[in-house]
């Protein structure tokens, strides 16, 4: 528990740094990737020093993301195992969206949506990394056939769009659910936030202190 009696510690400093590295990488990847994905977004390459530079930097950011995300994965994967209450929660997703969390089961550190974001991103980043390697001609051109590269390109693009959509959900949720953002900016959340959204977790935290 935090020094401040009114807040609950949610993320350690290391976890937050890890998250933000991941976040920044993902955003840069999305920007550079989208720049090369759709012509109308090609102008975004200017953020990276031009087309050649964007093409060169993008995979390296991908490497950073992969390593960084791996850190997050090992940090959090045990907390993201699917529980019975997650299924219930999912069934009541409509209520959640309508800002009505009454009658939902108590949740641990993560709700089902967050877990889906976690596992979704885990799988997509794995696929993105794998397909990205296939497309990274500078080093790996000779290891795959052109047809494999074509498949990789489709997989990469589809996964990237998927990851971006999940990311939008993730970001929107952070904006929509007030009090969430501070978990990643300051490491702590208010007791009220914890009680409201992750009561089981809050209960455990309270017990620990």
């Amino acid at each position: 528990m935090s020094e401040d009696k009114n807040v609950v510690a949610r993320y350690t400093t290391a976890a937050r740094i890890n998250h933000w590295i991941t976040a920044v990488s993902l955003i840069l990847l999305a920007l550079s990737g989208m720049a090369l994905f759709h012509p109308s977004l090609f102008f975004l390459t200017n953020l990276f020093g031009g087309g050649q530079a964007t093409r060169a930097i993008h995979p390296w950011i991908g490497v950073v993301l992969a390593i960084s995300f791996l850190g997050l994965f090992f940090r959090f994967f045990t907390l993201n195992f699917w529980k019975r209450e997650d299924t219930v929660w999912m069934k009541n997703l409509g209520k959640v969206i309508n800002n009505n969390e009454e009658g939902l089961p108590e949740l641990g550190k993560y709700n089902a949506g967050q877990k889906l974001v976690f596992w979704g991103q885990s799988i997509l980043i794995l696929l993105l990394f794998g397909s990205g390697i296939v497309l990274w001609d500078v080093y790996f051109e000779d290891y795959t056939t052109i047809d494999q590269k074509r498949l990789a390109a489709v997989v990469h693009a589809l996964c990237a769009i998927g990851a971006i959509l999940i990311w939008i959900v993730h970001v929107y949720a952070a904006i929509w659910v007030k009090g969430t953002l501070r978990a990643m900016t300051r490491g702590s959340v208010t007791r009220g936030w914890s009680w409201k959204h992750h009561r089981k977790w809050f209960r455990q935290e309270v017990k620990k202190s």
Binding site: K5, N6, A35, L36, F37, H38, P39, S40, F42, T45, G50, G51, Q52, T54, R55, A56, I97, N98, N99, L135, D137, V138, E141, I146, D147, K149, R150, L151, A153, V154, A157, L158, I161, I164, L165, I168, V169, Y172, I175, W176, V177, K178, G179, T190, R191, G192, W193, S194, W195, K196, R199, F202, R203, Q204, V206, K207
Partner: protein, 300 residues
């Protein structure tokens, strides 16, 4: 209208603006490669290297006549030799490989860099190196496995159909040099007529299946072959029987692009609408109180 413009552009890679369409080239150009006349002398290769100031590295022999053994960023055309036993007789099928200048170029379709690949109104597909970002998407887009990315400058290279020569009224270097007129250059219309004569001659010499290779799957090409065995293009060192832009590339560079942006936009708009209609999910004072109670009660 740009002053620097030496040839009018029909298509331009990764561009949201359409090029001017009013001026049309007087002719569609084409190079006709008559495999039945080709002696595999590689004069076209030499002329290509010389004209384009390419210094390909000196390699080693691998025990075949193919040298360099494949297209490279510094070898834009290569001869591919195939020993084909047709009954008791041997045929040495020699095909000049290089860019086919598709009417519907897969490279251009795949290219993400605006203006890195252009198709002129005369049909030539050219790579504009300044705009090339070296992503290698053209390699994936090409149904003929032609473009190559340079390890030196990470830019894509391939036959330009000597657009610099054609734009001043000269034939491509390979066509001009060919000692046996196995390469013939002119309007696509004339080349097709010429090919018909060649095919008639080949049929008279017992090649009943001879024909013109101008594959419709890529909208026809501006480099065409006369083949003695037009029913089996793949005999000629794997010339695709029915080339078309890979469906994967078609999907990736086709419907996927707008759909993806739409999905992203939809997600954004949905979020925005959700926010303004449903409002934020806030922690109420009641929640805070209950939380405090729970904290005090140590999880009671």
């Amino acid at each position: 209208m740009a002053t620097m413009q030496s040839l009018d552009i029909r298509r331009r890679s990764a561009s949201t603006e359409a090029p001017p369409q009013v001026r049309q080239s007087a002719i569609q150009v084409a190079k006709l490669i008559d495999v039945s006349k080709c002696i595999g002398c590689k004069a076209c290769q030499a002329a290509c290297l010389e004209w384009n100031d390419l210094k390909a590295p000196i390699g080693y022999t691998d025990g075949t006549y193919d040298n360099p053994t494949d297209l490279t960023p510094t070898s834009w055309t290569v001869m591919r030799f195939t020993e084909y036993e047709r009954g008791d007789d041997l045929e040495w099928l020699i095909r000049k490989d290089g860019c086919m200048h598709c009417d519907d170029p897969g490279c251009l379709k795949a290219c993400p860099a605006p203006g890195a690949i252009v198709q002129y109104t005369n049909g030539i597909v050219d790579f504009v190196s300044e705009n090339c970002i070296g992503c290698g998407y053209c390699v994936k887009g090409c149904p003929f496995n032609v473009p190559r990315i340079s390890k030196v400058d990470r830019k894509a290279y391939k036959c330009t159909l000597c657009v610099d020569r054609v734009s001043v009224g000269q034939a491509p270097a390979c066509a001009k040099v060919c000692p046996t007129q196995a390469i013939y250059f002119g309007s696509k219309e004339d080349m097709i007529v010429h090919a018909e004569h060649r095919i008639a001659d080949l049929k008279s010499r017992g090649f009943q299946k001879s024909g013109l290779y101008n594959p419709p799957g890529v909208g026809g090409t501006h480099v065409m072959y006369v083949l003695h065995h037009a029913d089996q293009p793949s005999l000629y060192a794997g010339l695709p029987d029915d080339p078309r832009i890979s469906p994967m590339v078609g999907f990736w560079k086709g419907v996927m692009k707008p759909l993806s942006l739409a999905a992203i936009a939809f997600a954004g708009v949905f979020g925005f609408l959700h926010y303004i209609t449903k409002g934020p999910n806030e922690v109420s004072d009641t929640d805070e109180r209950k939380a405090d109670e729970m904290a005090k009660g140590k999880g009671a």
